[in-house]
Amino acid sequence: MESSTHKDESPIPLEALRRLLPNWLKRFLPSGGGRAHDEHGKSMFGFTVFLLSESVVFVSFFVTYITLRLTTPHWLPPGVKGPDLSTAVMINSVVLVSSSFVIQAAEGALKNRNLNRFRLLWLATSAMGIFFLVGEVREWLGLDFGLSTGLVGGTFYVLTGFHGLHVFTGILLQMIMLVRSFIPGNYDQGDFGVSAATLFWHFVDVIWVILFSLVYLWRA
């Protein structure tokens, strides 16, 4: 079927290269044509592409933060202490990052069709997410600067706020998936929703790790 005698075929052996990839990456990249029937794979591919695109918004905020911090004369206005790496913030971060492992275990339980274990771990993930959000709001209320405080304020609240919005969305997605897990026959056509919500949560966590390093670990 694939003719390699025709002059205009690929100059690069794409198929051969694809076979060299690790399995988890190969899953995303279909070969040849006619794999449209793998709905789960196709949807995960699309969702992954979306997340990669969404991450560029965060990158633009990170670039903004770094640039402004390096070029502004007075990063911390007089009397402002800026973001504080308090114990509360550290606990929050640990909780959020650990929840990635919890949600991964939940997805594993679903793959084994252990619905009760799945729901328990899934709910635990959401609880950890809510814990994080509550903690973040409490941190915000205790800070000595607002949105319009110099540039430290704007960048801090945009970064943490935009990230928090994604945490909130992640929890919302988890709630929806949890409710749907009670519908009989929900997983007959695959579990794309759960896979997507899981990947989304990992994405949220990775962003947090970068954000945490840039905002809290980077001392003046």
Binding site: L29, G32, G46, S60, T64, S148, L151
Partner: protein, 556 residues
């Protein structure tokens, strides 16, 4: 189904009567939430054409004002609002979404699929365009008017009240349209990777599909930078943040970088699909294969990649460090190489061909030649010392209009005429098509050529009045623009009239290769009776002298 063109032609005569049998698309469907990519494609193309007419009307008023050196037709805030909205509408509500509509229609057919990867997402993405556009237009009704800081919205001017109210609407409208674009990007990339027919490897895809792959990748990975910048701009206006306020330590140049990081690749998002259109039409009407198909495919990807590292050439005169100006000069010059590959390939395709100078071909040839001119002035602009003289003058305006009108819009007309019989099942009137071409070609050159000498002599862009020494060229440009405006009339009459009452078209009136021509005109709801199996690369206009026999290769 085979790829043998001769068999396709024979089949076309037989199945002509089948092309209109069952499952005809009713006009009501075009106003509904249809998930059929063919319906959505037409919805995009018609909607964006209406925005094109609106943007064109704004241009007529601008050119009317510029016939005389003094300000007499509109007041200054209105003028500034006019050119701001003209640019914004033409880029974000005409060219970019029209290309999405054309791609929506063609890509599944060209790769042998029944629809896009995510049909419902496709429909949602379309239905965000009319509200986004209407929101933008509604800003004309504000007391302080529309956004008036140019389509770039540079702070601090864009932050100034009172017109920052219009600016807020501008930002929100762009965010809505941007979300639609990202949805489209996800859909196209997934479709191209996952939905190709058996045997359709990457290097058997038509160049149009390569061009959509490249331009949608650019959208996906560059547009979010603009989204970020616009969110920060919005917060500066509404929430008291200081990102771009110099008096508070903010950095307006940062906005420029975020803006241009997307907006340079955006011009390739606009032009790459048109290069794809030329690459489909020129072989069909020269009866030659596309010369150097693989180089053209690779050049398309290379163009997308290089275009992500040239953005600061829009900022040569800004507060850009010397080393950055030089770096971006080198990359901007380099981007001419893959572009040149395409021009040379098209020229070689036409050489020693058997040319049919029908309307699609006229527009494609005219567009390719005028793009040559645009590309040359582009290389001039890449030269930093020269750019410091003409930056922000009408030289730049002339250059980019040669791209967006004389190349892209001409290319869009070429595409409409070329695929009109396929989409509607009817044929347009060739004579009026030719008239449309000549009026457009003459009008476009009359309008935009004078802008080059104007810029060389220092006439700045975005001015509502100018020194009398510039009047002569401005009069020519304005008269040309009125001709250009009128030239759309025979087009609209031809397309609307033919769609309603034109003669029925065959399946493959141009005897072209490509899977879309192997199915009926218009295609059935599911596109193909059976999914084709592909056995060779595209553009097999090669009956004379090829070693391979098309018939033998066509075995299933």
């Amino acid at each position: 189904m085979t790829n043998n063109p001769r068999e396709g032609i024979a089949g076309a005569d037989e199945s002509a009567e089948n092309s209109h049998s069952t499952q005809q698309t009713t006009w009501r469907e075009y106003f509904s939430f249809s998930t059929d990519h063919k319906v959505i494609g037409v919805q995009y193309m018609v909607t964006t054409f209406i925005f094109f007419l609106i943007g064109g009307l704004l241009a007529m008023i601008i050119r009317g004002e510029l016939i005389t050196p003094k300000l007499d037709v509109v007041d200054r805030p209105l003028y500034n609002g006019l050119f701001t909205l003209h640019g914004t509408i033409m880029i974000f509500l005409w060219i970019i979404p029209f290309n999405v509509g054309l791609a929506n229609y063609l890509v599944p057919l060209m790769i042998g699929a029944r629809d896009m990867a995510f049909p419902r997402l496709n429909a949602i993405a379309f239905w965000m365009i009319p509200p986004g556009g209407l929101l933008l237009l509604s800003s004309f009704l504000l007391k302080s008017g529309t956004a008036q800081a140019g389509w770039w919205s540079y702070p601090p001017v864009s932050l100034q009240s009172p017109h920052n109210q219009g600016e807020v609407i501008w930002i929100l409208s762009l965010v809505i349209i941007g979300i639609s674009s990202i949805m489209g990007g996800v859909n196209f990339i997934t479709t191209i990777f996952w939905m190709r027919a058996p045997g359709m490897t990457f290097f058997r895809m038509p160049i149009f599909v390569w061009s959509i792959l490249s331009s949608q990748l650019l959208q996906l990975f560059c547009l979010p930078a603009l989204t970020g910048g616009l969110i920060l701009l919005l917060l500066d206006i509404t929430a008291g943040t200081n990102f771009f306020k110099p008096s508070e330590g903010g950095n307006p140049i940062l906005y420029q970088h975020l803006f241009w990081f997307y907006s340079h690749p955006a011009v390739y998002v606009m032009v790459l699909p048109i290069f794809g259109v030329f690459s489909e039409i020129l072989p069909a009407f020269s009866r030659n294969p596309l010369f150097g198909y693989r180089s053209v495919a690779l050049a398309t990807i290379a163009l997308a990649v290089i275009s992500t590292v040239v953005w600061a050439h829009h900022m040569f005169a800004s507060v850009t460090p010397g080393w950055m100006r030089i770096l971006f000069m080198f990359t901007s010059m380099l981007v001419a190489v893959p572009t040149g590959i395409k021009e040379f390939a098209w020229t070689a395709t036409v050489w020693r061909g058997r040319l049919h100078l029908l309307t699609p071909m006229l527009f494609a040839l005219g567009g390719a030649v005028m793009f040559l001119f645009a590309g040359i002035t582009g290389v001039m602009l890449a030269s930093t010392p020269f750019d410091l003289h003409v930056n922000n003058t009408y030289f730049v305006v002339g250059h980019f209009h040669y791209v967006v009108y004389n190349t892209i819009t001409m290319g869009i007309f070429a595409a409409i005429y070329f695929w009109f019989p396929k989409i509607t099942g009817r044929m347009y009137v060739e004579g009026w098509g030719k008239i449309h071409f000549w009026l457009t070609f003459i009008g476009a050159n009359l309008t935009f050529f004078p802008m080059h000498p104007l810029g060389l002599h220092g006439m700045l862009r975005r001015v509502s009045s100018y020194d009398p020494e510039y009047q002569w060229w401005n009069v020519i440009a304005s008269l040309g623009s009125f001709l250009l405006g009128m030239s759309t009339l025979p087009f609209i009459a031809n397309i609307v009239g033919s769609w309603l009452r034109g003669p029925k078209a065959e399946n493959n009136p141009w005897h072209a290769t490509g899977l879309e021509w192997q199915t009926s005109s218009p295609p059935p709801k599911e596109n193909f009776e059976e999914i084709p199996v592909v056995t060779e690369p595209p553009y097999h206009y090669n009956d004379f002298g090829e070693t391979e026999q098309p018939e033998a290769a066509g075995q299933e």
